[in-house]
Amino acid sequence: MSNSSAGPRTANADASAPRRNSKRPKYSKFTQQELPACKPILTPQWVISVFTIIGVIFVPIGIASLFASNKVVEIVDRYDTECIPQNMTNNKIAYIQNDTISKSCVRKLRVPKDMDQPIYVYYQLDNFYQNHRRYVKSRNDAQLRDAKKANETSGCDPEKATANGSPIVPCGLIAWSLFNDTYNFTRGNQPLVVNKTGISWKSDRDHKFGSNVFPKNFQNGTLIGGGSLDPKKPLSEQEDLIVWMRTAALPTFRKLYGKIEVDLKKNDIITVVLENNYNTYSFSGKKKLVLSTTSWLGGKNDFLGIGYLTVGGLCFFLAAVFTVVYFVKPRKLGDTSYLSWNRTGAGR
């Protein structure tokens, strides 16, 4: 009888010898977590230099933007309150809803500075929620794009179809509430032509609104929301509609009305004969007429310039503060007395 003297452990070691290699994990930088890495440390030098760099970049940009914005000449005229006949100031809604009352109104604008052409004419609405959920989705892009899809009016509630069921083109609340004030400009007695082409983004014109889609049954209902469209012109040429239908992000928005392609001189008096058709009185919205030139940056907007300048300035300031702190209350890098276990009172 052989009473094996091999202990359990040795026996096991022998048995596992051939397996051993297979169990040993293979070395790789990934599994051993030794991937080469850069280890940035946010030292005060870094903080100060980052601030300085930001300052150096931002201040010039800010100055340039502010300069561009300041170059822009802008005339803003609120006319919704002024254009109501004296006797109807207490009943604005009745005034605007009454078709028999003439909506014409004359405004006189003084040009504060020379304005180089093109001068952009905007209308600005206030408290008008073009971004309301019910409003935004009330359109059908397929219908706008494709003449064959005139019947596709899903999402257009409640301006889908006429009472007898034929589809409205363009359907939906957005189109239905098309802005319909009109402006006519004269300088002295010389009329200023407003060019209403090219006021929409080209991509909208070319792709979103079909060149063979014509308005149908538009504003035929009992309730008239706003402007009407020329049924003979394809949608792609109805630029007012195209501009209107690019719904604004905020309840206060400007939309481009047209371009005046004549230079205006300082102190010129512009006479505006406008048709005050659009009802903003119901929801007490303001209406403004804006004449503005542009710079490379666009219209008059100091926000970016001020923003850049502020941040740039703040960064310079912070860089200075950190530098002062750095000298007043320096901390040696890697000062072991900051370690929690070296600080007093950090006993058990």
Binding site: T252, F303, V311, G334
Partner: protein, 1230 residues
């Protein structure tokens, strides 16, 4: 065939009337009432089972379960429904399911895809992971099920896979093989029908246990004979009690009772036995080990539970936002906004006539709109990160790969990685975890002279702490190493001791070692091949030492011990000396000593005694004070070096004295009442006037690197408790050896091992005992607490240590005393609980877990640690040895205790840091995104109009911001692994939960609030004019695309700012995400699809990019948004740096050190002798109480089993008796 059927039926009906169960249970009643139970014991079925051995047909009608096991969660059919069900049990997933359903209704502002796409992606990833894990389980089962086993078929052993095994089969298991099922042991290749088994898989005990077959069945050994075996077994139904078994074997109308002694459980392995034959009792899932493998309750990490609170807070925030919006919408809606078409028939949501309904419906609208505030991909990202951390980092860490056993670390669950970074309390088992359970003779002191040059681990550790480096090689050329012997001193080896100053002392010393023991030699009687079977490894080590000193004990007969003494050679032949053993005075825990009376061949009568220094010194003869004093010094020296000491002494006896005493001894031995006590008293009469020879020092071999690991962990602020079943001396000794306790500490002992307790216990009144114990423990606790109070508030005071034994612990865990125990123990740097049962281990663990609300980790290797492993937050099993039970219950398995350093300080800490970062970042990015949406709501008349396009919103979480955060969760590294280990204090940041406090979350929330304002108002403010030189204006989608671009860019850059280290993957993923957004929008806005999509964003990016506004804003907004964070980070680092930041700064100029040990090599190199003398010089000189006595007495080896009274472990006498049986010729087998 029909005959068999008849018989089966007959026996069944017979059994119905037979009240077998009750009969057998009464005979075992006292046993079964005290069962060790692992987990819940299933109620036993009332009936019993009858098994026809070696007769498959007869067993057929009962339809026993097969032996194949399956631990998978799903199969092909159930995978989808069950897996989905599991997924939707998560609140986040359920929430998104509801949101998705909600978003198909008209009240939703967003298209269903917005929520369906992320949800399906998340579900897909989770399901793939589940499937993968289940597949692995399936593979594992398959390999087990297909392991081969020999089964008797047609008088031959046939090899079949395990799964084909059936109840009643006769199987043959070879040496070192595992039992494939629960077997009834029939016959063994050993002559006396015994076999040795190792139950490491069940209870972690690596010592061998003896099982003995019924004598009646010994013959069924060879296949031809075994084929004749036709027995019928009636036994209990399968249950999960490991230590009980009741049943009868009916063989040829003879009923033989079966006991656990004949049962071989699945999972155990056969040792030191060529092979055995057994019959299958329970198979597959009905085996005891399988019934014990309870469903491990899945643990969730504390961080995740805190995350739930964060999610809850987000829900609160969501509700609040929706409420504001909903009320706003109710107020806003008005017919005056005629352009909204509100006159006439309007759907409920916008009907101004019923503002209340509008409010309610808008509430739902907004919930769908703001659903992004709950980070849907968070859970799946965390899961992915943790999964990769486990499978790629932890499992493949070469630093945690144990070369000797070829075992890599194994993360068995991927839920708890970050929990590893917050552990404050470690509960460790002793045997097999801290120690190797290998005793090695290391040093000795003979007649006042110290021998042995070794340096123990603890000394080495002390030296290294002082900056000295010892040479790795431990010992000179003369050193001899074998199992149980690690001694290096030329003065004693090869007979050189004869030239020492005190050769007579040496001779007695060696004789004492060779004679005074109960060891049984086995195997060939040669120096190299002999194997000592000892009840305790200490004894084996001592006998091995004697062998190496030239006193080779090689044979034991019932009355003699034969020693081959090389120092006396007669005519070149080594002399064999036969010492007649007259009496053996047994070792037990009260006596703490063991004596042997022997007669030399020349008639000299000597009593050799070995035992604890305290008991030996009490019994020494007068005189030789120098040796006593010096030996005591040596004892203390050994003790503080963590060695286990025994004193050796002898006494010359005159024959008159002996004879007189022997009469009393025989009387005592044959007394029927209180035999043990009387024996003790008689022993007392002769064990006196001893002459001290010296002492031995045995190293209870610690696992490699344990002291330094413990030292590192305690520097990391982790407190280590040792919970062991060993007796107090052993436990204290190990605590010394591990540096958990040292002489500088204030030590508190609460022990039941006092005379007072013994006295009360002797009276045997259980009520009285418990009352007395309770009072004692209460008093002790109060006393200790009072003393300890003095040290609580001093910073420089000594550290505290508490030692408590299991009996006292039982009372201390009483609800009334628990508070005091907790108060005391939490203030102790280390706590040692000895003689604790598995249940108490779990109780202590939950005491700290629940009572103190600290994060706990349990580490152990045996089944007695299972309950503790499961009770703790994190359970770690020691793998690589045979024991699997602990590993099966654990969350992480490592091969060595020292790997805890890597597991906790490196992997745990990183995981914690990374996950904190991931979670807070997720929180930030979703909150920021949703808040921009919220601000927009205010300017849309609270209508719930979406700011972003559907696809932007749905892809935000899953594409544009998904990958970088995962990369950070995988690769972010504040300091390198070696620095983590060099500065263990860094770990405290995790214990204090520095990176996921509400304060940290609040900072993120604040900046997210700030940034969202910047994103929304800055883009909006800059947008309402003509935007280019041709005066055209932007619409809603231009502005929102602009804002979204800024959000994506900023959020990704913010992550970069949060990184501690930036690998190429970071830069790739971050730039990739930003590029992915641009790529997406370029394509998305260029394509016009015929599907149900309003061409809102058609061409917007091109329109945007044609303006200067776009570029200026894109530069401006991220800078403004990140400026706040940047200032915060700068200030925080400058004025209140985190510890890791300081460490980063210290090592900022280090080269990329890849964990090379180079850094550790600093230090003075000493020559070996210098080092040794220095080591000795460094040893504590002051008198201490600790002298290191420890000895594993047989009674404690299987403490728990013996407590049951079920399986009585062998006594030393059994070993001796078996030795005598051995000599008998084998008659029962040819």
């Amino acid at each position: 065939m029909s005959g068999i059927w008849e018989r089966a039926r007959a026996s069944r009906t017979l059994r119905g009337r037979d009240s077998f169960g009750s009969r057998d249970i009464t005979s075992n009643g006292d046993r079964s009432s005290r069962t060790v139970r692992l987990g819940r014991v299933q109620p036993q079925a009332p009936s019993n089972r009858t098994i026809y051995c070696n007769d498959r047909e007869a067993n057929l009608p009962v339809r026993y379960k097969g032996n194949s096991i399956s631990t998978t969660k799903y199969n092909v059919l159930t995978f989808l429904p069950k897996g989905l069900f599991e997924q939707f049990r998560r609140v986040a997933n359920l929430y998104f399911l509801m949101i998705s359903i909600l978003s198909t209704t008209p009240i939703s502002p967003v298209h269903p895809i917005t929520n369906v796409v992320p949800l399906s992606l998340v579900l897909l990833v989770s399901l793939i992971k589940e499937a993968f894990e289940d597949w692995k389980r399936f593979q594992n089962d398959k390999s087990i099920n297909n392991a081969p086993v020999d089964v008797l078929q047609d008088q031959k052993w046939e090899t079949i896979p395990w799964k084909k095994l059936q109840v009643g089969d006769l199987v043959r298991v070879k040496q070192d093989g595992f039992f494939p099922a629960d077997l009834l042991f029939l016959a063994s290749s050993n002559p006396d029908g015994v076999c040795y088994i190792e139950t490491a898989n069940l209870d972690g005990e690596t010592n061998l246990k003896i099982r003995k077959a019924l004598e009646r069945t010994w013959d069924y050994f060879l296949p031809e004979k075994a084929a004749e075996f036709k027995g019928e077994i009636q036994c209990e139904q399968p249950n999960n009690s490991l230590y009980t078994f009741t049943g009868n074997l009916i063989i040829e109308n003879q009923t033989l009772p079966l006991s656990p002694n004949q049962i071989l459980l699945r999972g155990c392995s056969l040792r030191n036995t060529e092979y055995i034959v057994g019959t299958v009792l329970f198979t597959g899932h009905e085996t005891k080990v399988m019934m014990n493998s309870m469903n491990v309750p899945s643990k969730r990490s504390t961080l995740e539970r805190k995350l739930d609170k964060l999610i809850l807070a987000l829900f609160g925030c969501l509700f609040f936002m929706c409420l504001i919006g909903a009320i706003g919408s109710g107020v806003f809606i008005n017919r005056k906004y005629y352009y909204l078409g509100l006159s006439g028939d309007v759907e409920d949501q916008f009907n101004p006539n019923n503002r209340f309904v509008v409010t309610i419906l808008t509430m739902f609208t907004l919930i769908t709109l703001y659903s992004t505030i709950i980070p849907i991909s968070l859970y799946v990202s965390i899961e992915m990160i943790k999964f990769i951390q486990c499978t790629q980092f932890i499992n493949k860490d070469l630093n945690m790969y144990h070369i000797e056993s070829g075992t890599p670390a194994l993360a068995r669950t991927s839920n708890l990685n970050e929990e590893l970074g917050q552990v404050e309390y470690i509960f460790s088992d002793k045997t097999g975890t801290l120690t190797r359970n290998m005793m090695e003779f290391f040093k000795c002191s003979i007649g006042g002279e110290i021998y042995g040059n070794g340096v123990t681990e603890i000394e080495r550790g002390n030296l290294e702490r002082k900056g000295l480096k010892l040479d790795g090689a431990n010992g000179s050329a003369t050193a001899i190493r074998e199992k149980g012997f690690n001694f290096d001193d030329a003065r004693l080896m090869r007979g050189a001791w004869r030239n020492e100053t005190n050769p007579e002392f040496c001779k007695e010393f060696f004789r004492c070692l060779a004679i005074c023991h109960t060891v049984l030699p086995e195997g060939e009687e040669s120096l190299e091949k002999i194997v000592y079977q000892a009840a305790s490894p200490d004894e084996a080590a001592l006998v091995t030492a004697a062998k190496n000193f030239g006193f080779f004990f090689y044979r034991r007969t019932p009355t003699t011990v034969i020693v081959r003494e090389s120092h006396v050679d007669k005519m070149g032949k080594i002399q064999d000396v036969a010492y007649e053993i007259l009496n053996v005075l047994e070792f037990n825990s009260t006596r703490k000593r063991q004596s042997v009376v022997c007669r030399y061949p020349n008639g000299r009568l000597v009593l050799y005694c070995k035992g604890a220094d305290t008991v030996i010194y009490e019994r020494l003869a007068y005189g030789n004070e120098d040796i006593k004093r010096i030996t005591r010094e040596h004892l203390e020296q050994f003790g503080s070096a963590g060695l286990r000491t025994l004193c050796l002494a002898y006494r010359e006896l005159s024959s008159e004295l002996y004879e007189k005493w022997n009469e009393k001894f025989i009387l005592a031995k044959s007394s029927l009442r209180e035999r043990e006590k009387k024996l003790d008293e008689v022993a007392e009469l002769i064990e006196k006037e001893l002459v001290l020879i010296g002492c031995t020092a045995i190293e209870d071999k610690l696992q490699e690197g344990v002291p330094s690991c413990i030292e590192t962990l305690s520097r990391a602020g982790i407190k280590i408790w040792v919970l062991t079943g060993d007796k107090m001396e052993t436990a204290i000794n190990i605590a010394y050896a591990c540096n958990l306790i040292n002489n500088d500490m204030k030590q508190f002992f609460i022990s039941s091992d006092t005379d007072a307790v013994r006295e009360v216990e002797d009276k045997g009144d259980p009520v009285e005992i418990s009352r007395f114990m309770r009072d004692l423990v209460k008093k002790d606790l109060e006393r200790c607490l009072e003393e300890a109070q003095h040290f609580f508030h001093t910073v420089t005071g000594p550290k505290l240590a508490l030692v408590i034994d299991g009996k006292c612990l039982m009372y201390a865990l009483d609800p009334n005393l628990r508070v005091n125990l907790l108060k005391l123990s939490l203030n102790c740097a280390s706590v040692v609980c000895c003689r604790v049962s598995p249940l108490q281990k779990a109780q202590v663990t939950s005491l700290v877990k629940k009572g103190a609300r600290k994060i706990t980790l349990s580490i152990g290797d045996g089944a007695n640690d299972v309950s503790m492993i499961q009770a703790a937050h994190v359970g770690v099993g020691i793998s690589g040895l045979e024991g699997m039970q602990a590993v099966m219950a654990s969350d992480f398995a490592i091969a060595q205790f020292r790997f805890l350093t890597d597991l906790l300080l490196v992997h745990g800490r990183w995981s914690y840091l990374r996950l904190c970062k991931v979670i807070t970042y997720f929180f930030y990015k979703n909150l920021t995104f949703t808040l921009t949406q919220f601000w927009f709501t205010f300017q849309t008349g609270f209508s719930g109009q979406r700011f972003y396009d559907d696809w932007f919103q749905s892809l935000y979480n899953v594409i544009f911001t998904a990958l970088p955060v995962i990369i950070v969760g995988l690769f972010d590294k504040d300091v390198s692994a070696s620095l983590s280990k060099q500065n263990p204090e860094l770990y405290k940041e995790g214990i204090r939960n520095m990176f996921f406090k509400w304060r940290v979350v609040a900072v993120w929330a604040f900046f997210s609030f700030y940034q969202s304002l910047v994103f929304y108002y800055f883009t909006a403010a800059a947008s309402h004019n003509g935007q280019n030189s041709s005066g055209k204006t932007f619409g809603l989608w231009d502005v929102s695309t602009m804002a979204f671009t800024c959000v994506v860019v900023t959020v990704n850059l913010r992550l970069l700012m949060a990184c501690n280290s930036i690998t190429k993957w970071h830069s790739l993923s971050i730039s990739g995400s930003i590029l992915a957004w641009f790529l997406f929008i370029f394509i998305y806005s260029a394509v016009m699809t015929p599907y149900d999509r309003q061409e809102n964003v058609y061409f917007v990016i091109y329109v945007l990019m044609s303006t200067f506004y776009f570029y200026l804003t894109l530069l401006h907004i991220p800078v403004v948004a990140l400026l706040g964070d940047f200032i915060y980070l700068g200030l925080q680092r400058w004025f209140a740096p985190y510890d890791y930041q300081i460490i980063q700064e210290i090592h900022r100029n280090d080269l990329e050190d890849n964990r090379s040990s180079a850094l550790l090599e600093i230090g003075n190199h000493l020559t070996q002798n210098e080092a040794r003398s220095y080591a000795i010089a460094q040893l504590p000189r002051e008198t201490s109480k600790h002298t290191g006595f420890a000895f594993d007495s047989p009674g404690y080896e299987s403490f728990f089993a013996s407590q049951q009274g079920v399986f009585v472990p062998q006594k030393p006498w059994d070993v001796a008796r078996r030795a005598s049986m051995r000599q008998q010729p084998r008659t029962h087998r040819s």
